[in-house]
């Protein structure tokens, strides 16, 4: 249950940063923390204390960790990285236009 607790704490932390903070970069960080919480949770569940799930010649592997969640997580990390990059470029552009990265001060974002 320890991993559940950490998942909830991390997820809520990220969600807090995403919703409550007005700094756009902090919002991106919050989003990434949220994603990281989900990935951590997935990986911690798939770990059953077994072998790495690689097929070894001549060896009988009886207990191995499920590779599918790991594959899902890898893909999720790739998506997360690309969206973070895209968001940060948009924030840089926005900073060029309005001279600030504060959500409250950028006109029209909160209307």
């Amino acid at each position: 249950m320890f991993n559940n607790l950490i998942f909830i704490i991390l997820f809520m932390l990220g969600f807090y940063a995403l919703i409550m903070k007005t700094n756009l970069i902090k919002n991106v960080i919050g989003l990434n923390i949220m994603e990281a919480a989900v990935f951590f949770w997935v990986i911690s569940f798939s770990d059953v204390g077994g072998e790495v799930s690689i097929h070894k010649l001549g060896e009988e592997v009886t207990k191995f960790n499920d590779p599918v969640p790991q594959a899902l997580t890898l893909t999720g990390i790739v998506i997360g990285a690309s969206t973070a990059a895209l968001l940060l470029t948009l924030i840089i552009e926005l900073n060029k236009f309005s001279g600030t990265i504060d959500r409250e001060k950028i006109e029209g974002l909160n209307d």
Partner: protein, 511 residues
């Protein structure tokens, strides 16, 4: 493995390959690039239509099914694409709409075309992928791909407004994606599979609280992506900031793709009875109806043309979602017909607004004075499409709204019937506001109506592709309004698919 099964992969791979060509096409001549884009979209359209006509007998008897598997044959280590009648219907209408939007944008987009078309075809590839996929993880990938690839298109004209809209769109899209991911992972941990058909078979085995969690996360993700009421404010901004063809793509095509995913998830994968049992269907129905009303009311106060159209989209999508939640045959007929009708009408409206707004300062209502006199025929087409959206009798909007209304009355859901009627009346008011504004001043001396009609005679010879596409959409709306029976066979077979998910499950697991 016959040619047709490989066509499924080709439908996804072809736009992706064209996108790669487009990305490096900045040194091409403009003509070459346009020809490449139009032929690419045309081949895509031909492939889908050939699938439809070559298998017409099978489609008619509701046993059309194609699938293609990549990887090992045993689940869950497999990527699976399948096409049944429902996905065929959506693939058909989406590809047809996208084809016309591509033709429109060859003339509309005037700079950075290579970038534009590259992202456009990537979006097309991910749309086809999310329609054709048969397992959850690929679905998640393609949904995220749609979100990521549409963002640069929204901020295509680099201004402060578009950047803001794109950023907000991405924030909400990714949050929805995270919810979707959580749901998928919960399904995997409970059932050990990600194939939609296998999940559908054993979804009963999950404990009720877990079922509730999974369904709620799916609903949250899709409500965010569809722009249903509590989380709708990103939609009008994103849909009004981008260039007109992209607005048409987002509002006319993409929202329908999310509706398709909604149907796939809640009718094929998770049987609809679970939603009824957990008392969620009534809740979603009411939420969608409230969203519909709110969309229409907000459209009343929107002072910008494209923003008004986007709010009206919220209204229509809410109505379609509500009618689908009734889960009767009549409701599916009305809902699917309105999906097609709204796709035609909203694409037409956004494209014609794009044409009309080229000559004005902004799309604020005060700047639109006299556009009705400047471009007479295009504005008449715009009015006809508006009337279709309101629900005037000979047009397709009337037919579909009529069936939606009948479905609500048949289910004795009078609030729904009220929302459909009220939506039409409010729509009449907000469209009239813009139409009367457009005919305000009569100062500009331009072509007379007679000259315009003469120019219509050289319809396909004339160089103005944009106008012709708008006229084509108008004609289609009139034509299908009179001949909505054309959609009878595809829609009825799609309804069969929704009501009998067992067939899809058996065929996917069997092959």
């Amino acid at each position: 493995m016959s040619w047709m099964n490989i066509e499924l992969i080709l439908l996804i791979a072809l736009p992706a390959v064209i996108a790669v060509f487009m990305a490096f096409s900045s040194s091409f001549k403009q003509r070459t690039r346009n020809i490449l884009a139009v032929t690419g979209a045309g081949i895509e359209l031909y492939l889908v239509f050939s699938l439809f006509f070559l298998n017409f007998e099978a489609v008619k008897n509701s046993n059309f099914f194609l699938q293609y598997t990549i990887g090992y044959s045993n689940p869950p280590f497999v990527i699976n694409f399948a096409m049944d009648n429902l996905s065929l219907l959506f693939s058909l209408i989406v590809t047809a709409a996208v084809f016309f939007i591509v033709i429109f944008s060859t003339q509309y987009i005037r700079d950075k075309e290579s970038r534009y078309f590259a992202f456009f075809f990537l979006v097309l590839a991910s749309i086809q992928g999310s329609i054709l996929t048969a397992d959850l993880f690929t679905l998640y990938l393609f949904i995220e791909a749609i979100t990521i690839f549409t963002t640069p298109l929204i901020s295509f004209k680099k201004t402060e407004k578009t950047t803001r809209a794109a950023m907000q769109y991405l924030f909400y899209g990714i949050t929805g994606g995270v919810f979707f991911f959580i749901s998928i992972i919960l399904i995997y941990f409970n059932l050990g599979t990600l194939k939609m058909a296998a999940v559908a078979e054993s979804f009963v085995l999950i404990s009720t609280p877990m079922q509730l969690t999974i369904i709620i996360f799916f609903l949250l993700a899709l409500i965010i992506k569809l722009g249903i009421f509590p989380i709708h404010f990103w939609l009008p901004r994103a849909h009004s900031a981008c260039p007109a063809p992209i607005s048409a793509l987002l509002s006319g095509v993409l929202l329908k793709v999310y509706l398709y995913i909604f149907m796939r998830l809640f009718w094929t994968m998770i049987a609809f009875d679970f939603l009824v049992e957990l008392h969620l269907s009534a809740f979603v129905l009411d939420l969608a109806l409230v969203s519909s009303l709110i969309g229409h009311v907000f459209a009343l106060q929107a002072d910008k043309l494209k923003k008004m159209l986007a709010y009206s989209s919220i209204g229509h999508i809410g109505m379609i979602l509500a009618v689908l939640m009734l889960n009767t045959e009549a409701a599916f007929y009305g809902g699917l017909l309105h999906i097609i009708a709204h796709m035609l009408m909203k694409s037409g409206l956004f494209l014609s607004s794009g044409y009309l707004l080229r000559t004005t300062l902004s799309h604020h209502i005060d700047d639109l004075k006299g556009i009705g006199h400047k471009n007479r025929l295009v504005f008449i087409a715009f009015i006809i499409i508006c009337l279709g959206t309101i629900g005037m009798p000979p047009l397709i909007g009337f037919v579909s709204k009529w069936f939606v209304l009948l479905a609500f009355l048949e289910a004795r859901h009078y609030f729904g019937a009220f929302v459909v009627g009220a939506g039409s009346i409010i729509a009449l008011i907000y469209y009239l506001r813009y139409i009367s504004q457009a005919y305000e001043t009569v100062k500009t001396e331009n072509k007379t109506l007679r000259e315009e009609l003469v120019s219509l005679k050289v319809f396909f010879k004339s160089t103005n592709i944009m106008k012709n596409i708008i006229y084509l959409f108008t004609l289609l709306i009139i034509f299908f309004g009179l001949g909505y029976k054309f959609f009878e066979i595809p829609i009825n077979t799609a309804i069969f698919e929704l009501l009998n998910p067992q067939k899809y499950i058996e065929l996917v697991l069997g092959g």
